[in-house]
C-alpha cells in the first residue's frame, strides 16, 4: 500500500537523520524518528493524513497550471466559452470531493483524539511510574513522588515503562514536550494537566518548552535519559544521596527567575509540595526580581 511505503520511507529517512545525528553527537528532535508508541502513532497519523491530502491538492495544483496555460489569451487552439458559468455536475463533484475527504479525515481525527488523548493511560504489563512536572522561570522541576527524589532540568525515566506525568506551573504557561516521544501538554498555574508517555528503549532524548514563557524561554530545554530498570534504580539511589532538600523554602528560591541552571538532584522531597504548588498554598514564582525602577519602564541591558 502506498501509505505504508511512504511511512516506511519517511521513518527510514528520520532514522538516517537520527543516526547521522547520534554519530555527530547533536541533539535530535525529529518527529519521524519516534522512540515511543505515542510518538510513533502520531507520526503515522501525520503521514497518512498528508498522503490523503496530497492526493487532492497535487491534482488541483496541476489542473491550475494546465488550465491557466492552455486557456492563455494567445492560444488559438483553446476554445473560448465566454458565457459558460455553471454546471450542476461539476458543482456536485466540487462539493463532494472535499466533503468526502473531510468525512474520512474527520473519522481519523475523532478516533485519534480519543485513542491518543494525553490523559489516557498506555497499555502495558508493567506498573506505570509517576512523575510530577513543574515549569519554573526558566527551568523544569521533575518530582518522583514514589521514589521521594526530584531533579531539575534533567528527566530520567525507565525504558518500556509507562510514565504518568502530572504537570503544573509555578508562574506562567509553558508546554512540556519531548518531540520523539510524542504529545505535548500545557503546564498552567493552579491547574494540573496529565500526560502519558513511554519510551521503547534506552537512549538519550531531548525535551523543551513549546509555549513562550518570557525572556529565558529559549533555555527551557532539557535532556531526557531513558535508562534500563537497573540504571533507573541506580540513578534513584544516587539522587537519594544528594543532601539537597526540596521543601517550600528551597522551592521558593528555585522559583525565582534564572536561566541556564545546571541539572541538580534533590535527595529529600516534601511529599505535599506538588499539591501545595497546584493549590498555591506554596507561593507562585515572583516574576521579575526588581519590580519598579527602570525595569518597570523598559527592559534593562544593552545590545
Amino acid at each position: 500500500m502506498r501509505t505504508g511505503s511512504a511511512t516506511r520511507i519517511l521513518t527510514r529517512a528520520g532514522a538516517v537523520a537520527g543516526a547521522v545525528c547520534s554519530l555527530t553527537g547533536c541533539q535530535n528532535y525529529n518527529l519521524f524518528d519516534a522512540k515511543g508508541p505515542v510518538g510513533a502513532a502520531e507520526a503515522n497519523i501525520l503521514i497518512i493524513a498528508s498522503v490523503i491530502m496530497l492526493a487532492i491538492i497535487v491534482p488541483t495544483m496541476i489542473a491550475t497550471i494546465v488550465f491557466a496555460w492552455w486557456y492563455r489569451e494567445g492560444n488559438t487552439r483553446a476554445q473560448y466559452r465566454p458565457n459558460w458559468a455553471f454546471s450542476g455536475r461539476i458543482e456536485m463533484v466540487v462539493w463532494s470531493v472535499p466533503l468526502l475527504t473531510i468525512i474520512f479525515l474527520g473519522g481519523i481525527a475523532w478516533i485519534g483524539a480519543h485513542r491518543l488523548d494525553p490523559m489516557t493511560p498506555l497499555d502495558s504489563d508493567r506498573k506505570p511510574i509517576e512523575v510530577q512536572v513543574v515549569s519554573l522561570d526558566w527551568k523544569w522541576l521533575f518530582i518522583y513522588p514514589e521514589q521521594g527524589v526530584a531533579s531539575v532540568n534533567r528527566l530520567v525515566m525507565p525504558a518500556a515503562t509507562p510514565v504518568q506525568f502530572r504537570l503544573t506551573s509555578s508562574s506562567v504557561w509553558n508546554s512540556f514536550f519531548i518531540p520523539r516521544l510524542g504529545s505535548m501538554i500545557y503546564t498552567m498555574r493552579g491547574m494540573t494537566t496529565r500526560l502519558n508517555l513511554m519510551a521503547d528503549r534506552e537512549g538519550e532524548l531531548y525535551g523543551l518548552s513549546t509555549h513562550f514563557s518570557g525572556d529565558g524561554f529559549a533555555d527551557m530545554n532539557f535532556p531526557v535519559q531513558v535508562a534500563s530498570d537497573e540504571g533507573f534504580a541506580e540513578w534513584v539511589r544516587q539522587a537519594k544521596e544528594s543532601s539537597l532538600k526540596l521543601d517550600p523554602a528551597s522551592y521558593g528560591e528555585l522559583a525565582k527567575q534564572s536561566t541556564g541552571d545546571k541539572p541538580r538532584l534533590y535527595g529529600t522531597v516534601d511529599p505535599k509540595l506538588f499539591d501545595g504548588i497546584v493549590a498555591q498554598t506554596v507561593p507562585p514564582g515572583p516574576g521579575p526580581s526588581a519590580p519598579g525602577g527602570v525595569e518597570a519602564v523598559r527592559p534593562k541591558g544593552g545590545s
Partner: protein, 669 residues
C-alpha cells in the same frame, strides 16, 4: 505630573531600536517638512486628511497598510538575520529585544498591515461596485481610519518611548499580567489595539449598513459582485467578533491597572478564559482578513479570464458557510491544554468542515479559468500564486486540526509556516492583486507591469523558500519564538530561511520601485476610459479616478455583472446609453472630526500607558467635545450643480465613445 514617564524610558543604551526609530522619525519629519515648505499642506488637509470620500479614505488605509507592512517586514528581517547568528551563540538581539520584535511583527502585520489593507480595498471598491455615491456614514468612516492610524502610531512610539509587549502577538496571561510583565509593553499593546479596534468595529458597522441598505436600483443581493458578498461576510464578522476582543483586553487592562483577577490564576481568576475569549475573536479574525481577499481573487480571475465567475451562487453559499463556521472552531488553538477526547474531537471536525467551502471556492476559481481567455496581468499572477500555494496551507491546516497531529506540531515552526502560508498567500497576495487591479481606478494610471512581475516572482519564491524551510523545521521539532538554539539539525534550514528572506526583500524593493516608476511614467500608463481591464462590475462604469460623486446618475442594474451587461449592449449597438437627465448632487462636506478625534484618542492611549491621569481626562474631554461640535453642525452637505455633473460625465463619455468607435472600426476592417 508625567506618571511613569521619565527620561529612562528612552533606550539611549540600545542602538538598534534607537537608530530604527530615528530613521523612521527623520523620514516622517522630512515628509512633513517637505509638504509644509512646498505648500502642499493646505491641499493635503482639505482634500485628504479631512476627506470623508470613501475612495480617499480607502486609499489612505492602503497607504497606511503599505507603510506598516514595511515596518513588519523589517521586524522579520531582524528576526531571520538574528537567527543566523544564534546557533550555539546569543545572536545579536538580547531576548528582551527579540521578544519585542516577534510580538511587534505579529501585531503590526495583522492589525496594521493586513487589516487596513483589506478594509482599504473594501472601502474603495464596495460603494463603487454597488453603484452608489459613498458609504452609509461618511464621517464615521473618516473616524474609523484615523483611529486605526492612531493605534499604528502608538505601536511605533513604543520603539522610542518605553518598550513594546514581550509576550507574543496575543498577550496570554499570566505572562501579560502586571506580576510577570511590569513594563509598559503590554499597555502599549492594549491601548493601541483598543483604539484601532474601535475604528475597525465602526468601519464594520459602516460597511454592513452600506451593503444592506445602500445599493443602486436593481442591485439585489444575488446581483452583487462576489467582492461585495465577501465584504458583507467579513464585516458581519467584524461586528460580531471585535467586541469580544475589546471586552477581553478591557478585562486584561482591569487586571493590570486596578488589580482585578479575571485572568490571574488566583482568587478565582483563570487564564484559560483569556485563551477562549481571545480565540473566539481570533479565529473569526482569520476569515475577516481572508474573505475579502477571496473576493478580490474572484473579481480578478473572472475579469482576466474574460468569463463570469463560475457557479456564483455556490460561491455565495460557500462564503456564508465560512462566515458561520468560523465561530465554531476556536478551541483548536488549544487542543494541547488537555480538554479531553470528546471536546477535541468535536472541534477537530468543525475545524475541518471549514475546508469544504474553501475547497469549493478553489475549484470554482479553477473552472472560472476553464474555457476562458486568460491574460497574465500581475493581479492574475498573484491570484494564480495564491491558488497554487494556498492549497498547501489549507492542507496543513486540516493536518493541524487532527488532534494527534497537533499534539506534536502545536506551537512549532510547522504551525508558524502554516499560518504564514495561509495569511501571506491569501491575504497578502490578495492585497497585492487588489492593489494592482484597482490602482488605475484610484489614480487614473496603471502600474508598471515589468516591475510588478519582478515583485511577484521574487516575492513568491522567497515565500516558498522561507516557509518551506519552516515546515521542515517544525517536523524536526523546532518550536517558535526561540531566541537561540543549539540543535545542528535545524541550522541548514534556518540558513535557507535566511536566504529566502533576501529573495522576499528583492520582491519588496521591486514593489516600491514599481510605484515610483509608474508615477514617473504615468502619462504613458494613463487609463483614459475608466475600464482598463475590460471589467465586469460597476466600478469600471465610471471614470478613473472617479469623480467625487462616483456616478453622474445612479446606474440601473438588470442582472448579474451589471457593467458587463451595459457594455455588451453598447458594443452591439456601437453607441453608449442615452445621456441621463443631469440633476444636482448633494455630497457630504469634508470635516476634520476623524483626525481630531484620533488626536485625542492618541492622547488618551499615551496617557493611560504612562499613568498620566490628567492627560487621559483631558483627551477624553477633547474627544467628547469633538463629537459635540460635529453633532451640532449646521450644514452637512454641499451641492454639485447639474452643469458641473454634466461637464464631468461628458468628458468620460467622449473617451468611451472614442474607444467604442475604435471597436467598430476594427470590426469593420
Amino acid at each position: 505630573m508625567l506618571g511613569k514617564l521619565t527620561l529612562d524610558a528612552i533606550p539611549l543604551s540600545q542602538p538598534i531600536p534607537l537608530i530604527a526609530a530615528a530613521v523612521v522619525g527623520l523620514v516622517l519629519l522630512g515628509v512633513i517638512a517637505w509638504t509644509v515648505i512646498a505648500g502642499h499642506f493646505p491641499y493635503l488637509w482639505r482634500e485628504w486628511i479631512t476627506s470623508v470620500d470613501h475612495k480617499r479614505i480607502g486609499v489612505m488605509y492602503c497607504i497606511l497598510a503599505l507603510v506598516m507592512l514595511i515596518r513588519g517586514f523589517s521586524d522579520a528581517i531582524l528576526m531571520r538575520s538574528h537567527m543566523l547568528f544564534a546557533y550555539k551563540a546569543p545572536g545579536y538581539l538580547p531576548p528582551e529585544h527579540y521578544d519585542q520584535i516577534f510580538s511587534a511583527h505579529g501585531v503590526v502585520m495583522i492589525f496594521f498591515g493586513a487589516m487596513p489593507f483589506m478594509i482599504g480595498l473594501m472601502n474603495f471598491a464596495v460603494p463603487l461596485q454597488l453603484g452608489v455615491r459613498d458609504v452609509a456614514f461618511p464621517t464615521l468612516n473618516s473616524v474609523s481610519f484615523w483611529l486605526t492610524a492612531s493605534g499604528a502610531l502608538l505601536v511605533n512610539v513604543s520603539l522610542v518611548v518605553g518598550e513594546f509587549a514581550r509576550t507574543g502577538w496575543w498577550p496570554a496571561p499570566p505572562l501579560s499580567e502586571a506580576t510577570y510583565s511590569p513594563g509598559v509593553g503590554v499597555d502599549y499593546y492594549i491601548w493601541a489595539i483598543q483604539i484601532s479596534g474601535i475604528g475597525t468595529l465602526l468601519s464594520g458597522v459602516n460597511l454592513v449598513t452600506t451593503i444592506l441598505k445602500v445599493r443602486a436600483p436593481g442591485m439585489s443581493y444575488l446581483r452583487m459582485p462576489m467582492f461585495c458578498w465577501t465584504a458583507l461576510a467579513s464585516n458581519l464578522l467584524i461586528v460580531a467578533a471585535f467586541p469580544i476582543l475589546t471586552a477581553t483586553l478591557a478585562m486584561l487592562a482591569l487586571d493590570r491597572y486596578l488589580g482585578f483577577h479575571f485572568f490571574t490564576d488566583s482568587q478565582g481568576g483563570n487564564s484559560m478564559m483569556f485563551m477562549n475569549l481571545f480565540w473566539a475573536w481570533g479565529h473569526p479574525e482569520v476569515y475577516i482578513l481572508a474573505l475579502p481577499a477571496y473576493g478580490v481573487f474572484s473579481e480578478v480571475i473572472s475579469t482576466f479570464s474574460g468569463k463570469p465567475l463560475f457557479a456564483y451562487r455556490s460561491m455565495v453559499m460557500a462564503t456564508m458557510a465560512i462566515f458561520i463556521l468560523s465561530f465554531m472552531v476556536w478551541l483548536h488553538h488549544f487542543f494541547t491544554m488537555g480538554p479531553g477526547g470528546d471536546v477535541n474531537g468535536v472541534f477537530a471536525i468543525t475545524s475541518m468542515i471549514i475546508a469544504v467551502p474553501t475547497g469549493v471556492k478553489i475549484f470554482d476559481w479553477l473552472f472560472t479559468m476553464y474555457g476562458g481567455r486568460i491574460r497574465f496581468h500581475t493581479s492574475m499572477l498573484w491570484s494564480l500564486g495564491f491558488m497554487l500555494t494556498f492549497v498547501v496551507g489549507g492542507a496543513t491546516g486540516v493536518l493541524l486540526a487532527i488532534p494527534p497531529a497537533d499534539f506534536v506540531l502545536h506551537n512549532s515552526m510547522f504551525l508558524v509556516a502554516h499560518f504564514h502560508n495561509v495569511m501571506v498567500s491569501a491575504v497578502l497576495f490578495g492585497a497585492f492583486a487588489g492593489y494592482a487591479y484597482w490602482f488605475p481606478k484610484a489614480f487614473g494610471f496603471r502600474l508598471d507591469e515589468w516591475w510588478g512581475k519582478v515583485a511577484f516572482w521574487f516575492g513568491i519564491s522567497g515565500f516558498v523558500v522561507v516557509f518551506g524551510a519552516f515546515y521542515i523545521l517544525g517536523l524536526l521539532g523546532m518550536t517558535r519564538r526561540m531566541q537561540h538554539y543549539d540543535v545542528a539539525d535545524w541550522r541548514p534550514w534556518i540558513l535557507i530561511a535566511g536566504f529566502g528572506v533576501v529573495l522576499m526583500l528583492v520582491g519588496v524593493v521591486a514593489q516600491v520601485v514599481q510605484l515610483v516608476v509608474s508615477i514617473r511614467r504615468r502619462e504613458s500608463l494613463r487609463d483614459e476610459t475608466g475600464d482598463p481591464w475590460d471589467g465586469r462590475a460597476l466600478e469600471w462604469a465610471t471614470a478613473s479616478p472617479p469623480p467625487v460623486f462616483n456616478f453622474a446618475a445612479m446606474p440601473q442594474v438588470h442582472g448579474e455583472e451589471a457593467y458587463w451587461t451595459i457594455k455588451a449592449a453598447a458594443r452591439e449597438q456601437l453607441s453608449l446609453r442615452n445621456e441621463p437627465d443631469y440633476a444636482p448632487i448633494e455630497m457630504p462636506i469634508n470635516n476634520p472630526t476623524g483626525v481630531v478625534c484620533a488626536f485625542f484618542a492618541t492622547l488618551i492611549g499615551f496617557a493611560m500607558i504612562w499613568h498620566i491621569w490628567w492627560l487621559a481626562v483631558l483627551g477624553f474631554l477633547g474627544a467628547f467635545a469633538t463629537f459635540v461640535v460635529f453633532a451640532w453642525r449646521d450644514k452637512a452637505e454641499y451641492e454639485i450643480p447639474a452643469s458641473e455633473v454634466q461637464r464631468i460625465n461628458r468628458a468620460n463619455r467622449t473617451t468611451r465613445l472614442e474607444a467604442l468607435q475604435g471597436v467598430g472600426r476594427r470590426r469593420a476592417a
